[in-house]
Symmetry: C2
């Protein structure tokens, strides 16, 4: 796919940054899109911009404030606590979020002459989000193609990886240190290792420890 | 479906107004959503509001300005001529428009506790728009359900009707005169019978004449 263009759905977090490195290896031209929907931490977008600039990738910020008009949720309302719920997805869930992100990314890709879309969704760590599952992505791929009479291909390099696997992939791509120091995953807006206690930090750090132990084991 | 709620994608034109009447007959509670994406004629939204108010239906206007960020087209840019193109869809085409409209409508419906979505797309008069075809709608229905783990049902009462058939349906629903005098379909923003020369007016008026001739023939 060396001579083709791709659009990466990008947030500046561990997963989408790893996907950006993956796409830069796979495609001749890569664009990134990120969505501004009143995130709790506007530094998420600043982080995305900084990473894209460092990697020489054009980043398009798309205004998705409409999401807030439609659903209240913890990612965009400071007053709602970030917490794990017993049933269903965590309270950070924006229903249909990946549906919208990928639909807009496809329209953007089409205008740009790209047919490849890259997203960091993962079924393994999907935390109950239905729009991170492989079956949804495949259905959406068909729907996007029918909606515009095109041949989009949605790539999900992390679909079957757990967090340790994502760290391993970033290492294979020569991006391990970059991802460790430059990305922002923490629900409380603290970059790199983060707050260490929110669900996102716990997942990230457990994955890192698991991968480091595996790497150490392979050496000895 | 008398005890269920529905959300109608509504523009104030002939097709979606007929669908609104249809939905009011089918469901116990009906909401309408319309999209503000910098239409050439802002009176399109005023018309939609007026019709909804007359029919006692709550109308939610959703800001979709982002569409303009993504694609240039004749519906939203005054400088581009409205014309039929020899190949492909007319220059009024916004790629993926129905994909976005129905996705947002579904998220809105979900927040409102509705699972029924109604849209006036028609394969018969689809003018080359891929996102008016039945196969797209069915694929999208599955994708929406997978994206949110829901059981949405997309209703397309006009799918297999030509414009004469849409007039006939509005007559059956007791809405014939209302649709004739209150709706706005014309590309040049002239309500009711419109400018008479743009492709949309020609289609609307030819359909009306065909239906009136059929009705007259049935009488004699």
């Amino acid at each position: 796919m060396k001579n083709e263009k791709a659009v990466v759905v990008f947030s500046g977090g561990q997963d989408s940054t790893t996907c950006l490195f993956w796409a830069l290896e796979q495609f001749s031209e890569v664009l990134a899109v990120t969505f501004d929907y009143g995130q709790r931490h506007s530094q998420e977008i600043d982080h995305a911009k900084r990473i894209a600039e460092t990697l020489g990738v054009t980043l398009q910020v798309l205004d998705m404030g409409l999401i807030n008009q439609l659903s209240a949720n913890a990612l965009t309302r400071d007053s709602i606590e970030v917490e794990e719920q017993k049933d269903g997805p965590p309270s950070t869930f924006v229903p249909g979020r990946n549906l919208l992100f990928l639909s807009f990314a496809a329209i953007y890709a089409d205008a740009f002459g790209a047919r490849h879309l890259v997203t960091g969704v993962s079924e393994t760590d999907f935390s109950g989000y239905p729009d991170c599952r492989d079956t949804f992505i495949r259905s959406l791929n068909v729907t996007l193609n029918l909606s515009m009479d095109k041949q989009f291909v949605i790539h999900t390099p992390l679909m079957w990886l757990d967090k340790a696997g994502v760290w391993e992939l970033s290492d294979e791509l020569g991006a391990f240190e970059f991802v460790q120091t430059e990305t922002l995953t923490c629900y409380h807006g603290i970059p790199a290792a983060g707050c260490g206690t929110c669900p996102s930090c716990v997942l990230r750090n457990q994955g890192l420890q698991t991968y480091l132990a595996k790497k150490e084991g392979a050496k000895s």
